[in-house]
Amino acid sequence: MELRYFSAGKSLALDTGSCIGCGRCVEVCPHAVFSINDRLAAIEVRDRCMECGACGRNCPTGAITVKSGVGCAFAIINGMVSGKEPSCDCDGPESPRKNRKACC
């Protein structure tokens, strides 16, 4: 069963004009959002994008822009309370929320 969230991939934008078809975006995306058709990248399934920012950071020509951030309610509440950017408290040596993502 494929899990989907709402408001997915809203900020993801691809400028095909500056794409050189290197395939890096396909290589880094954990949700198979991109595909390469006719030597150019295309956004295949935007609805799966979690805005992690991996594609934008690794596109060598800057063809991809995405506003990345952590999709974590705790981080957002943290940010609201402290008045800063949303941030997990996973830095703290004692933090119980450290390393919560089990996959890595």
């Binding site: 069963m1 899990l3 989907r4 969230y5 709402f6 408001s7 997915a8 991939g9 809203k10 900020s11 890096r24 396909v26 290589e27 880094v28 995306c29 954990p30 949700h31 198979a32 799966r48 994008c49 979690m50 805005e51 992690c52 920012g53 991996a54 950071r57 690794n58 060598p60 506003k67 990345s68 951030g69 952590v70 999709g71 974590c72 309610a73 705790f74 981080a75 957002i76 509440i77 609201m80 949303p86 997990c88 996973c90 830095d91 040596p93 004692e94 119980p96 929320r97 450290k98 390393n99 919560r100 993502k101 089990a102 996959c103 890595c104």
Partner: protein
């Protein structure tokens, strides 16, 4: 700082006595099998016991008998991650380049930028990697791509970055295929095992909530008459049940619950539990409704918190959950508590 240095001492470094020498570089050797101590440490992490200092000294390590042609794998200095990497490399001769991610796993550290371009570049230089291997290729975990710009690493160090599989279990197949991954290897999942993984830590963190609920429920069950115990039990069991449902049942059931918002999924579970509790403890309708209004938001809130452990939520959606969900959660909680207080006052008055 002193603390982290001490933790290195209690970590792995002390055991790395065997050394592999290439040129003037002496690289500590590590094993692809875990010791009893490693396994015990992992169990403790799972249950949130003494997680401090669960890290490996950053630097270059050798697995097996690598030579100048052997692959170099980059990873984080969270010991659990390091252990998984060296275990997965059983039978392969390779180098592991450990970045200083402050004991945080690859994905979380990449999001923070500690598993990042600058640290990788600095670590390549400080370990003298160029003199250890003859090739100029690195294998990074795919999820590290959030923090590393491959083209910048190439421009600055001459090393070409290959993003390997998401899961370290696929590393052997990936290397055997000539550093080619199948589409499945590139997909992050959120399988039952992944979803269950953080439940133990969440349970150990729930103690303050349990105490607060027990205290609130005893107040809401006053006065101290012969029926106090019965009232207290039904209230506290309903509320604690809602917490248990949010922590233990929500993760496995996540894919099967309707709605995409986690708080809404949690509310469904909370509602089902409240109905079950009402009939189980034979409570009157007004009490059941008040208790449900107080219990459902607990489950919904815990479910919403679980967004941080998931592997597919985005920040914009999570922000919407928080800004719309929190007011509803608070109002419902307040109404529920008011209902329960009113019921007590009325019944004392009429009696």
């Amino acid at each position: 700082m002193e603390k982290s240095r001490k933790s290195f001492g209690s970590g792995l470094t002390t055991k790395f006595t065997p050394v592999l020498s290439i040129g003037d570089k002496h690289i500590p050797k590590t094993s692809s099998t875990l010791t009893v101590r490693d396994i015990l440490g992992r169990w403790k992490v799972r249950w949130g016991i003494g997680r401090r200092g669960f890290r490996v000294a950053p630097g270059l390590y050798a697995v097996g008998e690598p030579d100048r042609k052997s692959p170099v794998l980059v990873t984080a200095n969270y010991k659990m991650t390091f252990d998984l990497v060296r275990q997965a490399l059983a039978g392969i001769d390779a180098f592991i380049l450990v970045l200083d991610t402050k004991g945080i796993n690859v994905w979380c550290a990449a999001g923070k930028g500690t598993f990042g371009t600058a640290e990788l570049e600095a670590r390549i230089t400080s370990t003298g990697l160029r003199d250890v291997v003859g090739h100029r290729e690195l294998i990074l975990p795919q999820l590290g791509a959030v923090g590393v710009a491959a083209h910048e690493i190439y421009a600055k160090t001459g090393f070409a970055v290959h993003y390997g599989p998401v899961r370290i279990d696929d590393i052997k197949a990936y290397i055997a295929a000539g550093m080619e991954k199948t589409p499945a290897m590139a997909r992050v999942q959120f399988k039952l095992r992944d979803r269950l993984a953080i439940i133990p830590v969440e349970i150990t963190q729930a103690l303050p909530i349990v105490i607060a609920i027990a205290a609130a429920c005893s107040l809401l069950s006053l006065p101290f008459d012969p029926a106090f115990g019965v009232r207290f039990f039904s209230r506290v069991a309903t509320m604690l049940g809602a917490v248990a449902v949010g922590i233990v049942l929500f993760p496995p059931l996540l894919p099967y619950l309707p709605f995409r918002a986690f708080a809404a999924k949690g509310a469904i579970l909370g509602l089902i539990w409240s109905l079950a509790a009402a009939s189980l403890f034979r409570m009157s309708v007004p009490i059941s409704i008040s208790l449900a209004l107080a219990a459902i938001p607990l489950t919904a809130f815990l479910a919403m918190q679980y967004t941080g452990a998931s592997t597919y939520t985005n920040i914009n959606g999570a922000r919407i959950e928080v800004t719309r969900g929190i007011p509803i959660i608070l109002i419902s909680e307040l109404l529920g508590l008011m209902g329960l207080i009113a019921e007590r006052i009325l019944s004392v008055r009429t009696a």
